[in-house]
Symmetry: C2
DNA sequence: TTGTATGCGTTATCAT
DNA sequence: ATGATAACGCATACAA
């Protein structure tokens, strides 16, 4: 541990520890001169109130936790960036955890956080979970939480999501408008709410336009390129697909690679649209038509809602228990 | 704060707090039966040792901090991912901070961390700094630190960097091999060590091949696309450039956009090579030749070195005070 | 305005 | 094997 403690600083100044403490807390009850003196000496001796002692005493940690499935991911990086900005503004620190889509890790982390380490949690859930009642076991002591993007619908916390149904509907419709007849939907199996909702948008758009829904065109993928590559190639070669709607960025990339390998021309032979936060989508070959979620904004909004709760403003949760932000479809060459 | 405390659990079991504590620490000095009993009850009542009390008592926080210039960045996301994996393995938590290239924020964060919050720091420095002697002011109490990528050469900590000089030399040479005569070097001003070293590699390669070094071809950019766009366009239109070596990914992207706008054909009119951690570089139009640093590995190695220090294994720092990892040049169409 | 004393929850030391 | 107690560093209630 670093630095000197309050007692040593008090001695150095011939003051009591309470006076020192006051210099760092209340502006009340302390003479400005004394305060200046203390702060000056503190700086000189490199004193800082010990965070753990303060937290223990105050029962608060000035820390929030972010839990996401993965870190090396455009969408989550941007969301974290948004959260970080807001947290910094509130003088809060951020603990970060990656679950790697592993439900057990998620449970571990959340449980662990209930030891006082964090005051609140911002989470995008692992998605593998079937039963997440463990959250209820914390009872009234459960940490304030805000969910975003991948959420547990039945867990009552504020949620920030995007208009995935509408976006997916429009995305699919866009492909139909462009003449696609056999549109595949690429999804990662364990995506809970997200995957389901996006699939509904896809299905409903097909129905609206009188296109028969073919179950085999809903293609389950994983997060591993090695696993996805053969799956996608098989689909491209055997299912007479002329359009692809990827529910997740990495599946669009895998499709691009597959098309390169198979000499399939995008957009002539196959049109692609994908959910994606990639900022350089215009630089792809061909440029990728995307459904782009406002990732940074989602992050900062999630943080704001969490701080509303922490500051007691959020008791009337009902009002904004679920915030739906709009994604933007950006039309580019891959669907031209 | 959540949960019950050790005292309540002790009462519930008619045991002393010391016994409870033992159940969670030493396996020594406690009967297995008692221990099982305690752990069971703890689970039932949702007890967890309070992290702040433990930390205060033990003077250690099981936490390390990561400080990076930005979060929404491929390279840093991957590095953080690498760090996270290792930290998790050691049972450590991660605090994360973005300096946004602001030296003051860096000083603030580092100073703040010396209040006991973290046991060590992994940092890629802001780069704006001229004088970073503030690090010396912490004296012997300075937190263990490991630097990576952007480092302060004069601060004595382990450093993980890549072979930037050699890579830059080779990158430039590659452009020369491909017939480029007027090669520009794009750099972000405030990149300290990084930018300088990469520039040296560029200059030396030119010299070796008897190409006159033209100062005006070293082009200072910023991190803002809006600022860079006109700078790059001006260069492309007026400096008769036929090759570009971008020291940072985003400058290559800006160049791509500029070329699209100006109808400059890559690689016919202009060849581009860039430092980049972009995994989908092959999907760009045209696919981008990159100098790719092993970002994830850099992160995990940095974490390992930090834990070596924390565990006292790292006292013989000299040995591996500076680790240089190799980057890989991957040849693609942009320099074909 | 400043000082004294107590407790936040835990764990290590020293008993028993 | 278990229990009593002191101490980690700080901030507040209360006293002066």
């Amino acid at each position: 541990m670093a630095g000197i403690n309050i007692k040593q600083l008090a001695e150095a100044l011939n003051l009591s520890t309470s006076t020192i403490s006051r210099a760092f807390r209340n502006n009340s009850g302390i003479k400005q001169v004394t305060k200046d003196l203390i702060l000056a000496k503190a700086k000189e001796l490199n004193y800082q109130p010990n965070h753990y002692a303060s937290s223990l005493r105050d029962q608060k940690s000035k820390t929030i936790a972010i839990i996401v499935p993965e870190l090396a991911n455009n969408y989550f990086s941007q969301a974290i960036h948004g959260i970080e900005k807001v947290a910094k503004g509130h003088g809060y620190n951020i603990l970060i955890y990656a679950t790697e889509d592993d439900f057990e890790k998620e449970v571990d982390v959340i449980t662990h956080l209930h030891n006082g380490r964090a005051e609140g949690i911002i989470i995008s859930v692992s998605g593998e979970a079937v039963n997440h009642n463990y959250l209820h076991e914390f009872g009234a002591k459960r940490l304030p939480m805000v969910q975003f993007d991948r959420v547990y619908e039945d867990i009552d916390t504020p949620k920030i999501i995007t208009d995935d149904y509408e976006s997916s509907f429009k995305a699919t419709e866009h492909l139909i408008d462009k003449g696609c007849k056999r549109i595949a939907f690429l999804v990662v199996q364990n995506d809970l709410s997200i995957g389901k909702v996006r699939e509904r948008g896809y299905v409903d758009a097909l129905k609206k336009h009188g296109i028969a829904v073919d179950e085999s065109l809903v293609i389950n993928c994983s997060n591993s390129y090695e696993e996805n590559d053969p799956i996608i190639k098989h689909a491209l070669q055997n299912l007479h697909i002329d359009g692809i709607f990827a529910s997740v960025e990495r599946l669009a990339f895998a499709t691009y690679y597959a098309c390169y390998d198979l000499n399939i021309n995008i957009p002539l032979d196959l049109k692609i649209i994908s959910f994606s936060s990639l900022e350089i989508a215009p630089l792809l070959n061909p440029s990728l038509t995307t459904v782009t979620q406002p990732a940074v904004e989602i992050g900062s909004l999630a943080a704001k809602l969490l701080f509303d709760i922490l500051n007691g403003k959020g008791e009337q949760k009902e009002a904004k228990n679920k915030v739906v932000l709009a994604s933007k479809i950006i039309y580019r060459t891959s669907t031209n």
